[in-house]
C-alpha cells in the first residue's frame, strides 16, 4: 500500500507497479459498498487520502479544484463562507472522499434535484494506466471530441486514478423546509412519492425510512421520528421563500391524500438538522440491533417502487432474514438492509440467498444493479443479467482503450469472459 502526496507520486507508483508486473487499485476512504476498492490478488493499493488539499476555490464562477482525498463534507464546509456547497451528499459524506465519489459516480439524497457526481465534475486530472498524466474535461464547458471526463466518472478505478478534480459548486438556497410525513405502511409512503413526482414537483430530496429503521434511529440519536408510523418520508424543499412555502403546502396535501397520519414541518434549523442526522446515522443505528448488515443499492423505475418494496419484504420473510428499508425514494434508489448476526450458523447462506433474490426482483422490474456504489466485485458476475454479451464486449473494449494491458483494478466491474472470443473460467481439473 502507498499513500502518495502528489500527482507525480501517483504516476510513479503506477509505473513502479507496472515494472513489477503488479496491478494497482485506487482507494479513497473505502466506504463503497460494492468492493470496488478491495484488492484482489497482490495489487499495489494506491490510497489517495493524503492528497487532501482544496487547491483553489473560484467563488465567482462557482467551482473548485480539489485533490482526490478531500472529504465530501469538508469541501462543503470550506465553501460555506462563500454561500456555496458541493451538491452530491452521500450518507457517508463525513468519511468519503471526492476522488472516491468520482470513481463510483456517487449520489446522495440531494442528487434528486441536482444530479449525481458526473453532473458536478467538470474536469479530472488523471494518471492513466500507462503512468501518463492527462486532463479529461476542462475549464471550458465543452471539449473537442469524446467526453473522456464523462467516461472516466464512475469507472471505478479501471480507467486510471484521479489526482485533481474540478468540481461545480452550487449556491446555497435562500429558503429550505423539511417535512416529516408519517404513514401507516411503506406502500402508502411509496405511493406518496409517486404522487409528488406525478404532480410535477421535484423536491430537493425525498428519503424513506420504514418502522424498523425509525425505531433504531430513535433509540440511537432521538431524531424525533414518530414511533407509531409504518414508514416515514423526509421531504426537503429548497429555493426561494415563496415557492418553497407553496410547494410545502402541496406536498403536505399529497401526503394526506395518500393516507399520511401526520405531517410535521421542521420548525427551525436545529430541528431540520436533527431530522437529517437521523437519516444519515441510520446505518450506525443498525449496530444496536445486530452485529452485521448487508446493504444493497439498486434502482428501479419510480413507478414500480410500491410493488418492488412489497417483494423485498416477502423475500426477506421467506428467508427468515430481518430487512430494513432506508433509501432515496425520490429517484427509486432502494437500499434494503439485511440485518443479521453472522455468528449464527446458516445465516450467511440465508442472507446471500435473500440478497440475490432482491436483486433479481429489481432487475425484473426494469431496474439496474447499482445507483451510487457501482458494480465493483459484488455485482460483477450479475452484469450479464442486465447486459447482453455484445453490450459487455463493447464495455470491455472501451476499458481496454484506457488500459490495454489490464493493470487498473482488474477483476472489477466486468465479469471474465466479457470480451467476445475470450474464454470463461476454466473448470478445475481441465487439461490445458
Amino acid at each position: 500500500m502507498c499513500w502518495p502526496r502528489s500527482t507525480a507520486e501517483v504516476a510513479a507508483a503506477v509505473r513502479i507497479a507496472r515494472r513489477h508486473d503488479r496491478p494497482f487499485v485506487a482507494r479513497g476512504s473505502g466506504t463503497g459498498l460494492a468492493g470496488g476498492a478491495v484488492p484482489i490478488g497482490d495489487p499495489v493499493v494506491i490510497v489517495t487520502t493524503a492528497m487532501n488539499r482544496i487547491l483553489d476555490i473560484d467563488a465567482a464562477a462557482g467551482r473548485a479544484w480539489v485533490e482526490p482525498g478531500v472529504g465530501n463534507l469538508d469541501l462543503s464546509r470550506a465553501t460555506a463562507g462563500f454561500g456555496l456547497h458541493y451538491a452530491p451528499d452521500p450518507s457517508s459524506q463525513q468519511a468519503c472522499t471526492i476522488g472516491g465519489n468520482v470513481g463510483t459516480n456517487a449520489g446522495g439524497p440531494h442528487c434528486l434535484a441536482e444530479g449525481v457526481t458526473s453532473a458536478h465534475v467538470l474536469a479530472v486530472e488523471v494518471v492513466l494506466p500507462d503512468g501518463s498524466v492527462a486532463v479529461l474535461g476542462g475549464e471550458a464547458p465543452d471539449q473537442p471530441g469524446y467526453d473522456l471526463r464523462g467516461c472516466f466518472v464512475g469507472s471505478e478505478g479501471t480507467m486510471g486514478i484521479a489526482t485533481r478534480i474540478l468540481v461545480r459548486l452550487v449556491p446555497d438556497p435562500p429558503a429550505v423546509t423539511t417535512l416529516l410525513c408519517a404513514f401507516p405502511d411503506a406502500e402508502r409512503a411509496a405511493a406518496c412519492v409517486s404522487g409528488i413526482i406525478a404532480a410535477g414537483i421535484i423536491p430537493a430530496a425525498i428519503e424513506m425510512m420504514d418502522a424498523r429503521i425509525t425505531a433504531a434511529v430513535e433509540d440511537f440519536v432521538g431524531a424525533g421520528y414518530p414511533r407509531d408510523a409504518g414508514a416515514v418520508l423526509l421531504v426537503e424543499i429548497d429555493g426561494l421563500p415563496g415557492g418553497v412555502a407553496e410547494i410545502g403546502v402541496a406536498v403536505a396535501g399529497i401526503a394526506e391524500a395518500n393516507g399520511a397520519t401526520s405531517v410535521r414541518i421542521a420548525a427551525d434549523e436545529a430541528e431540520r438538522a436533527l431530522l437529517w442526522k437521523g437519516r444519515k446515522t441510520a446505518f450506525g443505528a443498525i449496530a444496536r440491533i445486530a452485529p452485521d448488515y448487508y446493504l444493497h443499492d439498486t434502482v428501479v423505475p419510480r413507478t414500480r417502487l410500491v410493488e418492488v418494496l412489497r417483494r423485498v419484504y416477502e423475500i426477506a420473510e421467506a428467508h427468515d432474514v430481518l430487512v430494513m428499508n432506508v433509501f432515496h425514494a425520490g429517484d427509486g434508489n432502494l437500499h434494503p438492509l439485511l440485518v443479521f448476526d453472522g455468528r449464527e450458523p446458516g445465516t450467511w447462506e440465508r442472507v446471500r440467498a435473500a440478497g440475490s433474490e432482491i436483486l433479481e426482483a429489481c432487475v425484473a422490474a426494469g431496474g439496474v444493479l447499482s445507483g451510487e456504489h457501482g458494480i465493483g466485485l459484488e455485482k460483477r458476475d450479475l452484469m450479464n443479467r442486465v447486459f447482453t454479451a455484445d453490450d459487455l464486449d463493447v464495455q470491455a473494449r472501451l476499458r481496454d482503450a484506457f488500459d490495454p494491458d489490464g493493470f487498473a483494478n482488474p477483476e472489477k466491474v466486468l465479469p471474465s469472459g466479457s470480451r467476445c472470443g475470450e474464454m470463461g473460467p476454466i473448470p478445475e481439473g481441465t487439461w490445458i
Binding site: A61, T104, N105, G107, V116, S118, L128, A134, V135, G138, E139, A140, P141, D142, Q143, P144, G145, Y146, D147, L148, G150, C151, V153, G154, S155, P174, I197, G200, I201, I202, G239, L240, G242, G243, E246, I247, V299, P301, R302, T303, D331, G332, N333, G367, V368, S370, G371, G374, I375, F387, T388, D391, V394, Q395, R397, D400, A401, F402, V413, L414
Partner: protein
C-alpha cells in the same frame, strides 16, 4: 438496424440542421437514418424512450400534452434527438438544467460490425457499467449510429420569463444568462410567486425573448473558461456577431467574413479555449486543434469502429492502426 447491410463509409443523418458541424461530411458515404417515434413514455417516472430519428418538435409536442419537456433546446426544432446528441451542442438553459449529456439515461448504438449495443439504463440514477450514454454525446456519429435513447423528462415550470435590466446578474439560479454585447438577459423559471418577487426585488424588466442567434455564412461555437469570457468578448472583431453565455463560457459567433471567425478561434485558443465549426469556413477541419489525449481518443474510436467506417473525417481522430493480416 444492421450496418452490415451497408457497404463502406456510413453517415448518420438527422434533419441536417447542423450538417456542416465539425469536420467535412464524408464524401460517398451511405446515409443512414435512425427510427423515429416514441417507444415508451412513463410520465409518472419522468422518462421517455424515443427513436433517435424523432424530430425534437414532435417529441416536445407530445410531452407537452402532459406538461413535461426534455431539456435539449436545439437551435432549430426540426433537429432530431439523435442529431442533437451526436452534435453535443447544449441549449441556453444549460446554466440551471445541465448540458445535453446530463439528459441521456440510456442509449442503443448501432455499430459498424452490425451489432446494436445498449449502455446506461432506464432509471434516473445508475452506475451499472461504463457511461456509454455520455460517451456518444458529441461523438458526431463516429462511434456508431445512435438508434434509440432514454431521456430524462422534467415537469414544465409554472412560470418562465426572460428579463433584463436592474440587477439581473444577481438573480437566484437563473435558467439562462445571455448577452450579445448589450444588457444581459436572464431566463427565470419556477414558481410564479418567485419570479414576481425576484423581478420586484432586483428591478427586472420582462422582455419577449433572449438576443437572437447570430446569423452569417460562417459560424462557430466557442468554448472558454467562463472566467475568461469577458477577455474574449473584448477582442472579438467588429464584424463578428455573437451571443455569449456568462457563467458557462460558450459563445455563438457568426460573420460573412471567414477570416473574422477564424480570428475568434485564434483568440479562444490563446485563452485555452477552442471553437467548433458550425457552418461555412471551407476547408476547415472543424476544430482547429488536436483532440485532447489524442491517442486515447484514437483507441476509443478503434474500439467501437475498427474499420473506420463511421462518419470518417467528422472528428480529427487518428485512424486506427492497420490490422495485421493473420
Amino acid at each position: 438496424m444492421d450496418l452490415r447491410s451497408v457497404a463502406g463509409a456510413v453517415a448518420p443523418v438527422g434533419a441536417r440542421t447542423q450538417w456542416e458541424i465539425g469536420g467535412p461530411p464524408p464524401s460517398a458515404a451511405a446515409e443512414v437514418r435512425a427510427p423515429d417515434g416514441i417507444t415508451v413514455w412513463e410520465p409518472d417516472d419522468l422518462t421517455v424512450t424515443v427513436g433517435a430519428g424523432t424530430a425534437f418538435a414532435d417529441l416536445a409536442a407530445e410531452l407537452a400534452t402532459r406538461g413535461q419537456e426534455v431539456v435539449l433546446d436545439p437551435v432549430d426544432e426540426r433537429a432530431t434527438v439523435g442529431g442533437i446528441l451526436a452534435c453535443g451542442c447544449s441549449g441556453p438553459r444549460r446554466l440551471r438544467l445541465g448540458p445535453v449529456r446530463d439528459q441521456v439515461l440510456q442509449v442503443w448504438l448501432a455499430l459498424a460490425d452490425g451489432r446494436t449495443v445498449r449502455g446506461g439504463g432506464p432509471t434516473v440514477k445508475n452506475v451499472t457499467g461504463y457511461d456509454l450514454p455520455r460517451l456518444v454525446v458529441g461523438s458526431l456519429g463516429t462511434l456508431g449510429v445512435i438508434e434509440r435513447v432514454t431521456l430524462r423528462c422534467r415537469p414544465r415550470p409554472e412560470a418562465s420569463q426572460w428579463f433584463t435590466g436592474g440587477r439581473a446578474a444577481e438573480s437566484f439560479r437563473p435558467a439562462s444568462r445571455l448577452t450579445d454585447g448589450g444588457a444581459e438577459t436572464v431566463l427565470l423559471e419556477g414558481r410564479r410567486v418567485d419570479l414576481e418577487a425576484q423581478a420586484r426585488d432586483l428591478g427586472l424588466v420582462p422582455v419577449a425573448g433572449p438576443p437572437s442567434i447570430p446569423r452569417g455564412s460562417h459560424r462557430g461555437r466557442v468554448s472558454v473558461d467562463p472566467g475568461r469570457l469577458p477577455a474574449l468578448l473584448e477582442v472579438l472583431p467588429a464584424d463578428v456577431r455573437f451571443r455569449a453565455e456568462p457563467g458557462i463560457g460558450t459563445v455563438l459567433v457568426a460573420s460573412d467574413d471567414a477570416a473574422a471567425v477564424l480570428a475568434v478561434r485564434d483568440s479562444a485558443a490563446l485563452l485555452s479555449g477552442w471553437m467548433l465549426r458550425e457552418a461555412g469556413l471551407p476547408g476547415d477541419d472543424g476544430f482547429g486543434t488536436a483532440l485532447p489525449v489524442a491517442s486515447l481518443a484514437a483507441r476509443i474510436k478503434a474500439a467501437f469502429d475498427p474499420g473506420n467506417r463511421m462518419n470518417p473525417g467528422r472528428l480529427p481522430v487518428a485512424p486506427p492502426p492497420p490490422t495485421v493480416a493473420s
